[in-house]
């Protein structure tokens, strides 16, 4: 099958995957190419352009102190995507480690899982706020804080996949073939965990982007100097009745990104061995 044909098939079967993927790709490109997308320095203050409505020069208008909201939104994509990607990556890695340990080592399973239950018992926003308060506001700390809140979800999923894989005859067959434990882990366990973890990763991505925005919005996230979407919306909140574009346009970017990631997640879930993933 040519690439063109297989793309056509994918499009017919999982259009959400492609739409979401394209939207996400656009966002990613915008984040990377922010300096050349007709933007100016997002920190430039222009007192005369305060609360300027959107026009040909200020596409998204000007904010409270006259900064270009369009530039700030485009640069904000960098923050949001970095947080989403970072949190998804780190929580998958940590959650996978915890899940593998508790799935294979019965002795520490109970301990690890109770710790995870403990973390999950605290609302993730609250937990992140507490962690930020403890460590101080910075982009790295935001990523760490949201990761801590997301790890238990991955750990539980990974553990349940390990437990169901352990019952699979093909693992027993690998053992009877004399395969060492690490080789079994690498060739038989991990590849079969990839699909569910990838899908879970997209949902974590979306949720991390939202959580970062919420944290910024309540002033407990990324430092105000950094133009994250949450910060832009938070700053515009006070003047929503006279300049709604300060909230609506960055909010739109946020919604589109989260929607795109979720579309990709749903499409991936359907595309990657639906039988296996839906059983979990």
């Amino acid at each position: 099958m040519s690439p063109r044909q297989s793309f056509g098939r994918l499009w017919r079967r999982h259009p959400t995957l492609i739409i979401g993927g394209l939207l996400l790709l656009l966002m990613g490109l915008a984040a990377v190419a922010a300096p050349v997308l007709g933007t100016i320095d997002p920190q430039t203050i222009a007192p005369f352009d305060r609360l300027r409505p959107p026009d040909g020069q200020f596409w998204f208008g000007g904010d409270l102190i006259g900064r270009d909201v369009y530039s700030r939104t485009v640069y904000g994509a960098r923050i949001s995507l970095a947080v989403g990607l970072g949190v998804a990556l780190f929580s998958i890695i940590l959650g996978l480690a915890v899940g593998l340990l508790s799935g294979f080592v019965r002795l520490i399973d109970q301990i690890l899982m109770r710790v995870m239950d403990g973390i999950m018992a605290i609302p993730s926003i609250l937990l992140a706020v507490a962690l930020i308060a403890l460590t101080g506001a910075s982009l790295t700390n935001v990523i760490i804080a949201i990761t801590v809140a997301e790890v238990p979800r991955v750990a539980r999923l990974a553990r349940s996949v390990v437990l169901s894989l352990k019952e699979q005859p093909f693992l027993e067959a690998a053992v009877t073939a004399g395969t060492p434990f690490l080789a079994i882990l690498w060739r038989h366990v991990l590849p079969n965990m990839l699909a569910p973890l990838l899908v879970q990763g997209t949902y974590i991505f979306a949720s991390a982007v939202l959580t970062e925005a919420i944290l910024s919005f309540i002033g407990a996230g990324t430092p105000p100097a950094i133009p994250s979407w949450g910060n832009i919306i938070a700053e515009g909140r006070t003047v929503f009745h006279i300049a709604p574009h300060l909230v609506l346009l960055p909010g739109l970017a946020l919604s589109i990104t989260v929607l795109a990631v979720n579309l990709v997640g749903d499409g991936l879930r359907d595309h990657l061995d639906p039988r296996f993933v839906s059983r979990l």
Binding site: Q168, P169, F170, E172, A173, A174, V175, T176, A177, G178, T179, P180, A183, R187, H188, P191, N192, L194, D273, F276
Partner: protein, 339 residues
């Protein structure tokens, strides 16, 4: 690995008074008790019994794969070419598994890893045990696929398990098991999950491969039809104990233990109902396998046995030879007539 030069008379595999128990909430469950048998090079030995009789447990214990906890080999010994496997380290056992002793399973649909291609899975053992590189392992895997008579072997090499039928998958399993030229192949209900025509093909294939590879087969089954097709000697296990052992023809012609007779009576025979004098229903063995977590007094089969006398409920019958090589553990074995 190269074991010490075996004595010419030493059997390939010998189990001596093997006891395997499982720890349960109600105490120790004795799954296998005092099981002894030998398997000669190139021989096919069938272990027959119903579900829960301990046949799979004894096979897994040969591989030292009883999950511990809760299981434990509590007594006896397992000798491979005269060496006790119980003294082997886990590392030594890993070198043995898949290389000297390999195993095929009942469930071909789930015994293959869905994310690896057929060629990768067959090649895995070859790379593992014989240090072959990827192209070498791939070439050997292709040979193995041809050996197990899979059509269009080159194409199948890169296929994934979901694209194969049950019979094909079982052939792949056999190819995987035989890839390193094992001395012993343990086949745990290899045809149970297949439909009848495929069963016959797989059995034919196993017989053919056995002649070619000279591997001994330890065949675990409850299907006496398969036993008659494949085995040279048969062991019948009931409630974890060997109740009868003998050459396949003697044992099937004149079973000395009522349990074996019951098993044979439960096999439908084509055309049997046409004969007037033998017309009738399939025989069933009433009752179920006894609980193994409580000590059994007397013969374990006595509560289900049509031949049972008082003595059977008090004393356990010893395993005694009735004909050369034909042993049975029954007080009334001498009364049993040929079928």
């Amino acid at each position: 690995m190269s074991p010490a030069v075996p004595l010419p008379a030493a059997p390939l595999l010998e189990l001596r008074d093997l006891d395997v128990s499982f720890r349960t909430e109600g105490g120790w469950l004795r799954a296998v008790q005092g099981l002894s048998f030998t398997l000669g090079a190139g021989e096919t030995l069938a272990i027959v019994g119903e579900s829960g009789s301990g046949k799979s447990v004894s096979a897994l214990s040969v591989m030292r794969l009883i999950p511990d906890p809760p299981g434990k080999i509590t007594g006896g010994d397992i000798l491979y070419q005269g060496q006790s496997l119980l003294g082997f380290s886990e590392r030594q056992m890993r070198q043995l598994r898949g290389n000297d002793i390999s195993m095929i399973f009942q469930e071909p649909m789930t015994s293959l890893n869905p994310v690896l291609s057929i060629g990768q899975q067959i090649g895995e053992a070859i790379r593992l045990h014989q240090g072959a590189d990827r192209p070498e392992a791939r070439a050997r895997a292709l040979d193995m696929l041809r050996l197990v008579q899979i059509p269009e072997a080159e194409k199948r090499l890169d296929a994934y398990p979901h694209a194969l039928s049950g019979g094909m998958r079982q052939r792949v399993m056999i190819a995987m098991a035989l890839a390193c030229g094992p001395r012993i192949l343990i086949a745990d209900e290899p045809t149970t999950a297949l439909d009848v025509t495929i069963q016959a093909q797989v059995l034919d294939l196993m017989r053919d491969l056995k002649d070619r590879t000279k591997a001994a087969i330890l065949l675990i089954t409850h299907d006496l039809g398969v036993v008659a097709e494949m085995a040279e000697r048969v062991i019948v296990i009931y409630a974890g104990r060997k109740v009868e052992e003998g050459p396949v023809r003697d044992l099937l012609r004149c079973p000395r233990h009522p349990y074996t007779r019951g098993l044979l009576g439960a096999v439908p025979r084509l055309g049997a109902s046409l004969k007037a004098e033998k017309a009738g229903r399939l025989l069933e063995i009433p009752g179920t396998v006894p609980r193994l977590d409580q000590p059994i007094i007397g013969c374990a089969f006595a509560p289900r046995c049509a031949y049972a006398v008082d003595r059977c409920h008090r004393e356990r019958p010893p395993l005694e030879a009735r004909d050369p090589g034909h042993l049975a553990a029954c007080w009334r074995a001498h009364e049993m007539e040929p079928l």
